[in-house]
């Protein structure tokens, strides 16, 4: 097996504002294999987003080891990250395809190839035929699909998703979960997915990182050994219930 694709060991991050220290996250230790979909769950202020920002190279970490990439999968921090946020954050003045192309433009990738790839990705996320629409012409779920296509355009090795379906209604959210699993299988990407939802964490994850607040620390990580591809039926299975119970327990919410 060799080195894991991502290794975090004893990671800790403290923010300082006006002389005051604020512990954002601590005791973060977990490994991610290439092609995993790892979910991170926890209350507000537990440091989920901080971990994503450390992995994206946007914030330096305080202590511990952060390593991405291995011999088989070398990692270029300047171009191997794709990001999806709670808001789709599409540029209102750009057509959908031009929104998807934004990372490619920033990286200066060849235009023709990127355009062709953007069309393929839009088809993959179920937005074929919407290339020339403007964001306001799309529903919230469709905008988020476009944001996912945008995160894939430069073929990054790691996708960071910060509560991407948090702003969607419950039914759209369920649908997007199924869609995400399909996109994940088809693209073979490694995904880190932050959520507030325990069911979402179990349903999507190959493993789930559990974080708690006050103090912000990682409580545990649990491997979710439900078979793939996952189906909505699994949500009512005893095994699913058992995983959910464990997460509730770790989050101190029984």
């Amino acid at each position: 097996m060799g080195e894991p694709f991502i290794r975090l060991a004893g990671v800790r991050k403290v923010y300082r504002t006006r002389g005051k220290e604020f512990l954002a996250v601590s005791e973060v230790t977990f490994d991610v294999e290439q092609g995993e979909l790892v979910t991170m769950v926890g209350p507000s202020g537990c440091g989920k987003s901080t971990i994503l920002k450390i992995l994206a190279g946007l914030h330096p970490h305080e202590a511990g080891e952060v390593r991405i990439g291995n011999a088989g999968q070398p990692f270029d921090p300047g171009r191997d990250i794709g990001m999806v946020f709670q808001q789709a954050l599409l540029l209102k003045w750009r057509r959908i395809i031009d929104n998807v192309l934004l990372p490619a433009e920033i990286l200066g990738l060849p235009r023709q190839a990127a355009r062709a790839r953007a069309r393929d990705l839009l088809a993959m996320v179920g937005l074929a035929g919407f290339e020339d629409k403007y964001p306001y012409e799309l529903s919230g779920g469709m905008q988020q699909r476009a944001a996912i296509a945008r995160s894939l355009i430069h073929d990054p090795k790691l996708i960071l998703m910060d509560e991407p379906f948090g702003a969607l209604d419950a039914l759209t959210r369920e649908k997007m979960n199924i869609e995400l699993l399909r996109i994940w299988r088809e693209s073979g990407k490694t995904i880190l997915f932050v959520t507030h939802g325990i069911a979402e964490a179990v349903f999507l994850g190959t493993q789930t990182i559990v974080l708690t607040a006050g103090p912000a620390r990682m409580a545990d990580h649990i491997r979710i050994d439900l078979p793939h591809p996952r189906t909505l039926d699994m949500k009512t299975s005893p095994a699913f219930g058992e995983y959910s119970r464990r997460l509730y327990h770790l989050l101190g919410m029984e």
């Binding site: 990001m83 808001q87 954050l89 003045w93 934004l102 990286l107 910060d162």
Partner: protein
């Protein structure tokens, strides 16, 4: 624009016609003397009746309004751009600008006349000084309104400041720039006319003062109409440009 748009335009024209008709019948039925209020037709006649040099005065006023306005747009947007590139400069200069904005710009008129003599230049400068601030303020605000997550996305790809500026900040600020330009268009007209009232030897505002002496009210009405027309043309141009450059959903109303 759909069929609904044509219907709206038709209704708008009809409403204007009705207002003019109401004006006409108010004067005729009310037997209002012409020196108090002329009919619409009298007003139109003023273009040929009094033998006033309309055209040359329209040109002067147009140059003052459009010149002052163009300068305000260019310098206003440029100042706001400079602020986004230097936080220090913004922190230092912005409060001064806000204080200057409190000065009633027409109060500067007599000073401008002292500095630049009277004529086109001081009047254009009054138009400029009154139109400048809304453009700086709205543009600076628009440039600041960037989603932090979007910045993270660009930074995670090691995007440059310049890329952030060109691809995200500037197009994002366009709706704000246009909303400032619309406010400024109305103000620039008022600024130029007040300048002409204060001291000048040409322009529609100057002409108004001349015909006031002879109680040619119809010509005064015509002058007001022409001044308004200059303003409407400017405002219309800004709206057309906005429609071309700003996607519907992004417009600030």
């Amino acid at each position: 624009m759909s069929g609904g748009g044509a219907w709206r335009i038709g209704l708008a024209i009809l409403a204007h016609v009705l207002v003019i008709a109401a004006w006409h019948f108010f004067v005729v039925w009310g037997e209002v003397p012409t020196y108090v209020m002329p009919t619409p037709w009298d007003t139109l006649q003023a273009l040929v009746a009094g033998d006033y040099p309309w055209w040359s005065n329209i040109r002067v006023t147009a140059i003052e309004i459009y010149g002052g306005y163009a300068l305000a747009v260019v310098l206003g947007v440029a100042a706001a751009l400079v602020f986004t590139w230097s936080r220090l400069l913004e922190a230092a200069v912005m409060p001064v600008l806000i204080t200057f904005n409190m000065i009633p710009k027409v109060a500067l008129g007599p000073l401008f006349i002292v500095w630049f003599s009277y004529g086109v230049v001081p009047n254009a400068l009054i138009a400029f000084s009154i139109a400048f601030f809304p453009i700086v303020l709205t543009t600076a605000r628009g440039l600041r309104e960037v989603e932090p997550d979007l910045l993270d996305l660009v930074r995670s790809l090691r995007g440059s400041r310049w890329q952030i500026f060109v691809k995200i900040q500037l197009p994002g600020a366009l709706p704000y720039i246009f909303s400032g330009m619309k406010v400024a268009a109305i103000l620039a007209v008022a600024g130029a006319i007040v300048g002409e009232f204060l001291g000048s030897d040409s322009g529609l505002g100057y002409l108004m003062l001349q015909v006031q002496v002879t109680l040619d009210t119809a010509a005064m009405f015509m002058a007001v109409a022409l001044i308004s027309l200059l303003g409407v043309l400017l405002y219309g141009l800004v709206v057309v440009l906005e429609r071309i450059f700003v996607v519907r959903d992004a417009r600030v109303t």
